[in-house]
Symmetry: C2
Subunit: 389 residues, 2 copies
């Protein structure tokens, strides 16, 4: 089981705090946005006297509510095409285990969400990374790069859309390219769309479920964690129209009995969150993204693309080694008694050596704190001993 590069930094962050230094946490995907009241109230008012096992696929009423939700984003599915898990984490693990045998391969554009490594290890499968570049803003790599990495062991392609860690929002055209590839080689196309609602600059999200003619090859991974700022309820799910696949996934679901009941109650109610909640959240995230992108690009020799989704950016900095730099920020640096905790991008690349001059910044803090963080980073880069130019 691989160690997360962020986890390794935790003791250093604790050290900084012990020295009285304020640490701005730009390293995590835990939003500071409030969970909708409607979700919290549903749990507060849950009338049952026995907190019993639910259906292994998740409560039917939750799955029916999700069907309603998907209708609002033009996705037409039924309740038996959903299996609810303890977070998208478990749902993706079910998907991996259901479609692959140990030793099989899934192709993923890198940088990618570091926890995919854990799920792959858990399922005994291998991730084959395809390089995507900061120069293109982390757009989908050329399809030839996918094609030349397809072997007899390749079973699936996985994209996270909008992307963690890059914030990149894949276009309809890019999804169509993947559709052709998946169809040609009869591969599964897995799309992790947990950040679906977080798209900016008027851009619309195009879902893998909107693709025509490869319905049996598509697996959608989704969650309430980010959408409703409810990471702790641990409710995610997989969606597929492939009945055979869903029957196999159900056995994995049954083996662990059921997903958490309280979380399902919160998730079901959350679907009724009023539109205004999102309007405000999106407005806030756009302001935050703009702050970070403008801030980073204002730092000498630093570069940050302007991604249109999620709440992350991957930025390029004039540094020798992002792991060392992120540790140094916590261990040896402070400015006006503050420092920042960033995620070294190396942890999001499967190919050794990549991401050494990149960091992931999660803009999960308010604009004031983000501006302070940028100022701290600017000062830090002026004195970092491993600065490259």
């Amino acid at each position: 089981m691989p160690e997360s590069p962020i986890r390794k930094l935790v003791p250093f962050a604790e050290g900084a705090k012990k020295r009285g230094v304020h640490v701005h946490h730009l390293n995590i995907g835990q939003p500071d946005i409030h969970t909708p009241e409607i979700a919290l109230n549903a749990v507060r008012n849950y009338p049952e006297k026995v907190i019993a096992y639910s259906h292994s696929a998740g409560m039917l009423s939750l799955r029916e509510k999700l069907v309603d939700y998907y209708r609002t984003v033009n996705i037409d599915i039924s309740a038996d095409e959903i299996i609810v898990g303890a977070g998208a984490s478990e749902a993706l693990l079910f998907a991996f285990q259901s479609i692959m045998d140990p030793g099989d391969e899934v192709i993923i554009p890198e940088p990618f969400y570091a926890n995919y490594n854990g799920f792959a290890t858990n399922a005994g499968i291998n991730i084959v990374p395809i390089f995507s570049s900061i120069e293109t803003g982390f757009a989908l790599p050329p399809i030839e790069d996918f094609e030349k990495n397809i072997t007899s062991k390749t079973k699936a392609i996985l994209v996270c859309n909008p992307n963690n860690p890059t914030g990149y929002l894949y276009s309809k055209d890019e999804l169509e390219t993947l559709r052709l590839l998946a169809k040609k080689h009869d591969l599964y196309l897995i799309a992790d769309e947990v950040y679906r609602e977080f798209t900016y600059d008027g851009k619309q999200h195009f879902s893998c479920m909107h693709l025509k003619g490869i319905e049996n090859n598509v697996i959608l991974i989704d969650s309430v964690s980010k959408r409703y700022s409810a990471c702790g309820v641990r409710i995610g799910w997989m969606v597929s129209k492939n009945k055979e696949l869903m029957a196999i996934a159900m056995k994995f679901a049954q083996a662990r009995l059921s997903p958490p009941t309280f979380g399902q109650i919160a998730a079901e109610a959350a679907v009724d969150t009023p539109e205004e909640y999102f309007d405000e959240v999106i407005k806030e995230y756009i302001a935050r993204r703009n702050t970070v992108v403008k801030g980073i690009n204002g730092i000498k020799d630093a570069y940050c693309p302007n991604p249109e989704g999620a709440f992350y950016v991957v930025a390029k900095l004039p540094i020798d080694d992002s792991d060392r730099f992120c540790q140094w920020l916590l261990e040896d640096f402070s400015y006006e008694n503050q420092t920042v905790m960033l995620a070294p991008a190396s942890g999001f690349y499967s190919t050794k050596g990549r991401g050494k001059d990149e960091v992931r910044i999660s803009y999960v803090l308010n604009v004031v704190d983000l501006n302070k963080s940028i100022a701290v980073l600017d000062e830090a880069l002026k004195v970092y001993p491993g600065r490259t130019n």
Copy 2:
């Protein structure tokens, strides 16, 4: 992933209900006992505005509360010797994955909890069953039977105590025997003690954590599901004093981020459930067990031991095939418009052909319904076409 024999019966139970037949569910481990109010209130009054990820090992306040709980049963551990999972299911999976590589073996007395098969498949390991007999009330099999099945691939012995499905409560002497064996061969001794509080006839539970001199080999699996009738909160945990093992298990825990927050809130509060709650629950379960044991033994050619724990019995019936019998009960039989749903014991044996004349009965219904169920079973056995004598 193996199919549970109980799941296969579900469509037939639904069929019976559609025909207007009342089905007494003696097939499940879902108690009808109320979840303690103190646990429900903690969730109702949870003040946080953001339902965030918790610590991957579980909230520190929960783990500290569990340390307090264990002190009351003479088990001395610290909070960092606990990793909380989404139910004992996930905790046991963490344990399997942390101590075994694919292809390794764990020895388990059979009949055993059928879901162990799923966790083993999930971890890519093999279960080696050791036969325990209804003649001895499913006591620990002779230690020679364990010893002759130990190979270079054997990494652990697993017992469920009190046992699901047999209700058998292992004695201190039996645990000491296992201790010697585990020490001699340097094996892990995993004890699933989720039914710890459910012991009858004045018998005391002896925990694997009470064993001296093999502290680094012992793994305790525990849960609030049965203890506080809170199966749906999905909170279980593993306990071990082996620091190296816990460091590996933590990586699996981190890979799935965190256990469910609301469930942890309920679990933490549940530890303060007043003693009287258990006094009443235990009194109720003793009455139920007595009803079932006396009832079964009053049926011609049927036999049921008198187990001292959990809320299950495995009974021997004059039948050709328990899978067929249990299906027939739902599909073709009713008495006064009622029938019973039982778990075929075949599903609890790993060795093919065993358990064909045995069923598991969960006494999770009240005494009145249990008496009705016994009457139904009695009538059914009079007319079942596959009756053996």
